[in-house]
């Protein structure tokens, strides 16, 4: 079981540059039809300051990190044992190619169900752009199965 004293634990903040090439590849990988996600000119013609990050791209910023699973290892959790149970985005602004996004992640809850067979960890991450605006808050719920 994960030590409950990790609740409230904050990861060191990291800053990630949003790269146009990756946004375009994301649009290709998801077979996205809207040209604003593929092309700067189409994005600007539609009133955007650059190519927008698609609605779920925020989790990719968390993974664009030299040690993407350190936040799990900090808790003593084997990354291979965690399933992605739930994901929530609270959106307060847009993220664009060229932005520098600073991510503040913390553990918000750890609990178990079924007499400890299933253990849940919840993290919340605030994403703040180079203008100091919080553009996105992400919540992720991971489940660790101890009954397998």
């Amino acid at each position: 079981m994960i030590d409950r004293h990790h609740i409230g634990h904050s990861c060191p903040p990291s800053t990630v540059r949003v790269e146009a090439g990756f946004l375009k590849l994301f649009a290709k990988a998801t077979d996205e039809p809207d040209p604003i996600y593929h092309n700067e000119h189409a994005a600007r013609a539609a009133g955007h300051r650059d190519i927008p990050a698609m609605p779920t791209y925020g989790t990719c910023l968390l993974l664009n990190n030299p040690a993407p699973t350190a936040y799990l290892e900090d808790l003593g959790v084997n990354p291979q044992s965690v399933l992605h149970a739930e994901q929530t985005f609270f959106t307060t602004g847009m993220i664009y190619a060229g932005d520098d996004i600073t991510l503040h992640r913390k553990v918000t809850d750890i609990y178990d169900k079924k007499d400890g067979a299933l253990e849940f960890v919840e993290w919340e991450t605030q994403a703040v752009n180079q203008f100091g605006e919080t553009v996105l808050t992400m919540r992720v719920k991971g489940v660790i199965r101890h009954d397998l």
Binding site: F22, M54, C60, H84, A85, T88
Partner: protein
């Protein structure tokens, strides 16, 4: 555009998931977990083959929203992952209006239910979104 509870907003069927789809998503998303692209790694943990990224399914569900609304109208978007996707799965996402609220929120909001199912009708993920109409 006017909205009412129960109204279907979009019904989006994506091309079948291939190994190429998952390789592209792996590179694009920075999710390099090998169980999505490396059959040996998938078998080593007891799976019969690679499984799709849950966040790929959620990206498809998001396209159900941006097909109808401007992206900056999305205030909240939540998904619960039910079962993994597999190679060959053809995912259909459907969005339906659950309610139109103007209650305690200063903006008029639409609450939307989104489902992602495969070609056999098996549910892969269910979600909700809040859309501002202000």
């Amino acid at each position: 555009m006017t909205f009412e509870a129960g109204q279907t907003l979009s019904n989006l069927t994506k091309p079948p998931i291939t190994r190429t789809t998952l390789a592209l998503y792996c590179g694009a998303s920075h999710d390099h977990n090998p169980i999505h692209v490396d059959m040996d790694a998938a078998r080593a943990i007891g799976l019969s083959d690679v499984i799709g990224h849950g966040m790929l399914t959620m990206a498809y569900m998001g396209q159900c929203l941006t097909a109808v609304f401007q992206q900056d109208q999305i205030r909240q978007f939540q998904t619960r992952f039910i079962s993994p996707t597999h190679i060959g799965d053809e995912i259909t996402c459907q969005s339906v209006v659950r309610s139109i609220s103007d209650g305690d929120h200063p903006e008029q909001m639409l609450e939307i239910d989104i489902t992602a199912c495969d070609q056999n009708g098996q549910t892969k993920a269910v979600g909700t979104a809040l859309i501002t109409l202000a």
